[in-house]
Symmetry: C3
């Protein structure tokens, strides 16, 4: 499991950067504290909601100082390399997608360990997206999951895939890798080919 742990910490690092950059986009959030706090919330929000909903105490970032160190590293990295990061936003977006895919699968895995088989699908998705939801809400914006096409949907489907393969007794590590790759590839393809979900027409006549 040490590879998965390393990936988890790396995911925290990358999510912090994406959160810190979000703070830097808004007029009022330029000081160092705001960047730290926004990065922190983005990185630990989803897992905290998951653990608190499961009653999985101690909550992940409370039980292991390495998560907070990864947040600090992400904040410092953002502060030092901020001009380069912005130019590299495509690369960063890739990392963000990797981070999200890993968070989702770690989340669904932990939820299954708490014996919530089918509902683990929802908790996996929440692990991946809720840090960003809290970040956007605090910054007084409509959450990205509502604005960006096919952002949460790959999380939901990848989370469901892991549960299905788990019920089919696919070996855990293989399942982990397959589900992460699925989310990652689905998100990339959706972006590249502009896939979108059906829009709903509530007001006009059909």
């Amino acid at each position: 499991m040490s590879l998965i742990y390393a990936i988890d910490i790396a995911g925290t690092f990358v999510f912090t950067i994406s959160g810190a950059l979000a703070a830097s986009d808004k007029k009022h959030h330029h000081d160092i504290f705001s960047v730290f706090f926004t990065g922190f919330i983005t990185a630990i929000g989803g897992g905290t909601i998951r653990d608190v909903t499961l009653g999985a105490y101690p909550v992940a970032w409370i039980s292991d100082i390495n998560y907070l160190l990864a947040v600090f590293a992400g904040v410092f990295f953002t502060l030092i390399f901020r001009r380069y990061i912005i130019r590299l936003s495509r690369t960063l977006s890739l990392f963000d997608t990797i981070g999200m895919a890993i968070y989702v699968v770690l989340g669904v895995q932990k939820s299954i360990a708490f014996e919530v088989n089918l509902l683990a699908v929802i908790l996996g998705m929440i692990s991946g997206i809720f840090g960003g939801v809290i970040r956007d809400t605090l910054l007084n914006e409509i959450p990205l999951i509502f604005r960006k096409e096919m952002y949460a949907t790959p999380c939901l489907l990848g989370s469901a895939l892991f549960v299905v393969l788990h019920l089919l007794q696919v070996e855990e590590q293989l399942n982990f890798i397959l589900s992460v790759l699925f989310i990652f590839a689905f998100r990339l393809l959706a972006t590249k080919y502009s896939w979108s979900l059906p829009k709903l027409n509530f007001r006009e006549s059909s």
Copy 2:
């Protein structure tokens, strides 16, 4: 208790519809995922906050797949009948009020079971209104409880009524029905006769 359970599941269904319709009102939230997620949050938000605050694990929707199925049913119902639902908004508002009344009383009842007698009043109200509060906040709107006259107040009073009748040892089922009816009737009358709470005048001279 199977009647109350059926009512609870029906409340989830109705709350999902009201949440899904809220998403459909905003420009950016038209895709199916947004409708699902907004409906889901509206339906399970209040109970989740209550259970997590109580430490009542497993949280209601985690321990019973029927809540999620009711959410799915509500989402599909909204998608299929959306044009009719909008025309029937008065009817829907009735169902929403029934759902809210039931959530409040179920919430206060569960809180009492956790031996928080007086504070159960607050937790009952939170059960009824917080799903909507989270929904509105995510959609970047001022929560309905602040905008709509006499929306949360009937919940607070009905919650208090249940606690008082409980302390007076009124039979549980009777208390349940009386308190739900009280909230429902109070809300209907408040809407019909435009009852309002005293407004506060902070700025001008008296």
Copy 3:
């Protein structure tokens, strides 16, 4: 510990007033319920997030009716003396800073009791600021911690100071007083001399 308890209850009272006044600033939140609910959230939000994250059940305000009574007292005080309070806003701001300092140190102390030594720094800060964060988010505003210079930073530093002195085995009561005084003095000086954190320049060339 009865002095600290009294201070805690007084902090709840003062935080309620500051929350209730925030509601009164916005057009739509003038009725009595809105004032109560906003005051309540401000007063109990930070401690609730802390306790739920720690799994410290029962949550503080659930286990002791005096917190709710302090909230009611704060709401009534605001309603009766609202015109004077607004004129006394400098005085109130002092009380708010005292309340915040106490909440931070009580938060870090409780977290240490749950054996989260270093991460107690974060939880202490969260105890002090998150009630206000939730209040501002519900009122659809950018949280004060992002808008006001040096608002959360003193909390973070004071929280760290308490942990350091704790690890150096400074006597608990003395540590409590020193840390509260540090936060209070730092915040006052930061306001008086317009201290600010380095601003970040993400967009322009250097």
